[in-house]
């Protein structure tokens, strides 16, 4: 394991500290318990958005704190959901009286910790709603599992719900739009390599030179299938097919196409994947109205990518286009 780190156990502390220094115009970092809030929070009259989860997925979530997106992010240890004693004060800190939406990726740990935190924040008088993101179509048979994971689609939920809150929608409306995004986004991922959790020191899994993992999550866990290496086009087809099928995409649909890097894949490769995915969508009669390509929901230094498709309606498109000013996503502001 070779990493640009000091003490493996100080990775999250030092990284979040550096993040706070680099983006002091946008965020304030609370060291203990650890959470990151939007400098302007609480914003009078505005519904607040809080998300969080294990670290190692940067820029998710702290990179999305700011105008038009999250009010607070709560980073746990690497790949470990944060604890209620972080989530509660973050929730209280950003509440302006209009209520708080927790955006939670569907993992047992995140669900349990956010659940406890929501309950206790409510007890302190904060109105809290929770939205579960579960866009990963790699998890089949969700009856026999912990359910679909929340992966790449999370950033789309955070952007669109964030814009809804920013324009002044109330708690019900923000919750509803977040749920509408969840209902319309699907994702599937592939790994060309594992990743190494700093405190573990060995790769999450080892792949031979001609193997890839299809259907991975974002925690370095192995996927559903290991297959022989294929061309970028063939891999893209393999990722996109279940996404489109599950989404029930029909000709004439307008979509947002999101090709997300897992952290260690160069941008040039992401655009090769994007090219193929856009071609396939065009063949199916869908219109790619908006695009996002880059490292947004990562697994440390893993090589690979995920492909997300969000079926857009006009309101979602408008909210996507609305100004956003965060460390990792910025336009119109």
């Amino acid at each position: 394991m070779k990493k640009l780190i000091n003490d493996p156990r100080a990775v999250v502390d030092e990284s979040v500290e550096g993040f706070g220094m680099a983006h002091a115009d946008i965020v304030t970092v609370h060291a203990d318990p650890k959470f990151v809030v939007r400098k302007a929070a609480p914003v009078a009259g505005k519904v607040a958005l809080v998300s969080g989860g294990g670290s190692g997925h940067e820029p998710l979530h702290a990179g999305f704190v700011g105008l038009g997106m999250l009010d607070a992010a709560v980073p746990g240890a690497v790949f470990t959901s944060p604890t209620p004693d972080q989530i509660i004060p973050a929730t209280v800190a950003v509440d302006a009286g209009a209520g708080v939406v927790h955006i939670v990726k569907n993992y047992t740990g995140d669900v349990l910790n956010f659940e406890t935190a929501a309950e206790m924040a409510q007890a302190e008088g904060v109105r809290v709603r929770s939205v579960l993101v579960n866009d990963d179509v790699a998890v089949e048979d969700s009856l026999y599992t912990a359910g679909r994971r929340g992966v790449g689609g999370t950033v789309l939920v955070e952007k669109i719900a964030g814009a809804s809150a920013q324009r002044g929608d109330d708690l019900d409306a923000v919750t509803a739009i977040a749920e509408r995004v969840v209902a319309n986004v699907r994702t599937m991922g592939v790994a060309l390599s594992g990743c190494t959790v700093p405190h573990a020191g060995t790769p999450s899994f080892e792949l031979a030179d001609d193997e890839i993992e299809i259907g991975i999550g974002i925690h370095g866990e192995p996927g559903r299938h290991r297959i022989a290496m294929e061309s970028a086009d063939a891999i893209t087809d393999r990722l996109l097919e279940p996404v489109l099928e599950d989404l029930g995409l029909s000709s004439g649909d307008k979509v947002l196409l999101f090709v997300n890097g897992m952290g260690g894949t160069p941008q040039s490769e992401l655009y090769i994947v994007y090219r193929r995915a856009a071609q396939v969508l065009a063949e199916r009669g869908a219109t790619v109205e908006r695009s996002l390509v880059g490292n947004y929901v990562t697994s440390l230094e893993m090589q690979g990518c995920s492909v997300s498709v969000l079926r857009l309606d006009d309101e979602m498109t408008r909210l996507w286009d609305a100004p956003v000013h965060t460390a990792a996503l910025r336009w119109g502001a």
């Binding site: 156990r9 318990p33 294990g54 746990g76 240890a77 690497v78 790949f79 470990t80 959901s81 944060p82 604890t83 209620p84 004693d85 993992y107 047992t108 740990g109 349990l112 910790n113 659940e115 406890t116 790699a138 998890v139 089949e140 048979d141 026999y144 599992t145 912990a146 994971r149 959790v197 405190h199 573990a200 060995t202 999450s204 899994f205 999550g217 925690h219 370095g220 866990e221 192995p222 559903r224």
Partner: protein, 218 residues
């Protein structure tokens, strides 16, 4: 006579020792079917428990377990944090103000812990989770309580938990992160079941050689 607060504190300290010693092993188990953090999380959490216990020594076994509950809840995170947190909280509530835990109270405290995990995590036996260590442990503890003392209860629970943890090897996970792997989760031990067995073994050691955890920091 039953087991008192000294036992409870020793139990938690020996648990911390076990988590530190088995940290890498638990990480490795979680690496195979999860996300490589279970050993790290448990180690971090229990070190914090030991520190808390030293800062403010508890007066009763229940109070000791409550410290563990609150600390694990706030320091561990992931799935294991809330689940173990709830387990210790329910056990603490079950023990109430007792200063001396007899066989019956011990078995019921373990049952309460298990029920807490089920209430939070909704796992059933056979789902390849820590429940597969706790459920046989509770059954064995209750049986032992009918005839033996608290040490017998703990010994029975620990043995059953160890067997239960081993028995998770062939299972296909249906809860927690390992469930995403489907069939590929078979052939690996569940890390939460393994840590549960270690914790119950620590309870035996604390009871059979009182004071063995020492009083100072590790």
């Amino acid at each position: 006579m039953g087991l008192g607060v000294e036992w409870a504190v020793d139990w938690l300290k020996l648990s911390a020792k076990a988590m530190a010693e088995h940290r890498v092993e638990l990480i490795e188990m979680d690496r195979a079917i999860g996300d490589s953090d279970h050993g790290e999380n448990m180690d971090r959490g229990f070190q914090a428990v030991v520190q808390k216990l030293e800062e403010a020594p508890p007066e009763t076994p229940g109070a000791a377990l409550k410290v563990a509950a609150m600390t694990l809840m706030s320091k561990v995170g992931g799935a294991a944090g809330p689940l173990y947190g709830t387990a210790y909280l329910r056990a603490a509530t079950s023990l109430g103000d007792l200063t001396d835990v007899d066989a019956g109270a011990m078995a019921e405290a373990l049952a309460a812990a298990r029920d807490g995990v089920v209430a939070r995590g909704k796992a059933e036996p056979g789902d390849k989770t820590m429940i597969d260590a706790w459920t046989p442990a509770v059954d064995a503890a209750r049986n032992a309580a009918a005839t033996g003392g608290p040490l017998d209860v703990l010994e029975a629970a620990a043995q059953a938990a160890e067997a239960g943890a081993t028995a998770t090897d062939p299972l296909v996970a249906r809860k927690g992160r390992a469930s995403y792997l489907g069939e590929r989760s078979a052939g690996h031990r569940d890390p939460g079941a393994a840590s549960s067995a270690l914790i119950l073994r620590a309870a035996v050691d604390a009871a059979s050689s009182p004071g063995s955890a020492g009083t100072g920091p590790e």
